[in-house]
């Protein structure tokens, strides 16, 4: 298969990565150990867009405080919708980044970086670029972790854990109804 075909045929993995990030943010208190950057914490922020895995169907745009734990999110996951867009926060060594990721292109949108502390203009530029590169590098390590699991023989077990997580979200709904 040629490279362009590979690029297009694997685009769906962007959305699966977003689902994995969401699941990871609720597992183990959102703490992940990255090879280079060490321990980071992942949080879902105030916006999630969910779309069907296959075919056309309604989009669910959820916003407000804690959409990740909302009944609408639980139901959407239950009917095989996964995130096409997520707003996230990542914290590492008391520094926080907030950003939106779209599954289809994985480009960073509306990124907020930790405060730039340098005074001189040139230094501010390099510090700003450094902070940008830090979040890109951490996201690359997260993506690599996801891909390792995705390609592993034990991926089925991971899918089972995600399904249990979806099931628990919906079970909580029934209890509170």
């Amino acid at each position: 298969m040629d490279r362009l075909q590979n690029i297009e045929n694997t685009r769906f993995l962007g959305r699966e990565f977003l689902l994995w990030l969401w699941f990871t943010s609720e597992e183990n208190n959102g703490t992940v150990n990255l090879p280079t950057h060490g321990e980071v914490e992942l949080f879902l922020d105030d916006r999630i867009i969910l779309e069907p895995v296959h075919g056309d169907g309604n989009r669910h745009m959820l916003s407000g405080s804690e959409p990740a734990t909302s009944p609408e999110a639980a139901i959407a996951l239950h009917i095989n919708k996964i995130p096409s867009e997520l707003k996230l926060k990542l914290v590492q060594q008391a520094r926080a980044w907030a950003f939106t990721l779209k599954g289809d292109d994985l480009q960073l949108r509306s990124l907020r970086i930790p405060e730039v502390l340098s005074a001189a203009d040139d230094d501010r530029l390099y510090e700003r670029l450094y902070l940008l590169e830090e979040i890109e590098s951490m996201l690359k390590e997260l993506f690599t972790l996801f891909l390792e699991q995705r390609l592993d023989d034990d991926w089925g077990l991971r899918v089972g854990s995600i399904q249990n997580w979806i099931h628990e979200k919906n079970a909580e709904l029934s209890l509170s109804a």
Binding site: N80, L106, S110, L111, R128
Partner: protein, 208 residues
């Protein structure tokens, strides 16, 4: 907008292709200057021009090593200059001009060709009374890592950017995607092949 301050929403690309072995800065300076934003004149046929300008002054198209290189980064802007004459304004002035000509020539009607010519003249008159609309989008190329960041996520602007960048620097730009990200993360060849064979996973218990 972008590199120095403001919103951080940008597209990432990987640069592929040969870069100059020697005198990289001088070579790239020359190439950027070659494709600097041209002047958009009133008389020109095109309604829009696109080119490079200095990142610290959007109207500055006189590049130098100091204006272009910032340590390991090459930073500049994509600039588009566009004539924007509101269509209702153009139509109103053109109609006025048509009436005047009909009176002067004592005609009841003008041909399509005559109307077209009047419209063009009126358009140029309106252009002389206004300035083109200018937009700038920052570009930041990390020359060691060969990653380029472009401060717009609009498809149209990205197409324009990729086209001009590849022409200027004689390289290919490959956009970020799950597959290219894996390639650049140096995922093993057999894993890349396995990745290419994957199919979308259903996660809902309903899909079993």
């Amino acid at each position: 907008m972008g590199v120095f301050s403001g919103t951080l929403s940008y597209a990432r690309y990987f640069v592929e292709g040969e870069l100059p072995d020697t005198s990289l800065r001088e070579t790239f300076l020359e190439r950027v200057q070659q494709y600097a934003t041209p002047e958009l004149t009133v008389e020109a046929e095109e309604e829009e021009v696109v080119g490079w300008s200095c990142v610290e002054g959007l109207l500055d198209t006189n590049f130098s090593i100091e204006k272009l290189f910032f340590n390991e980064y090459m930073i500049f802007s994509l600039r588009t200059d566009t004539w924007r004459i509101p269509s209702t304004l153009l139509k109103a002035y053109a109609q006025e001009a048509e009436l005047k000509i009909m009176q002067e020539k004592e005609k009841d009607k003008l041909s399509k060709q005559e109307k077209k010519e009047i419209r063009e003249v009126v358009k140029q008159q309106l252009k002389r009374k206004s300035l083109p609309s200018i937009s700038g989008y920052d570009v930041c190329w990390h020359l060691d890592q060969n990653i380029v960041r472009f401060w717009s996520l609009s498809s149209k602007k990205n197409e324009m950017f990729v086209d001009l960048f590849e022409k200027t620097f004689q390289v290919n730009l490959v956009p970020l995607s799950p597959y290219t990200w894996a390639e650049k993360a140096e995922v093993a060849e057999e894993d890349l092949e396995a990745m290419a064979q994957l199919e979308a996973q259903a996660f809902s218990p309903l899909s079993e």
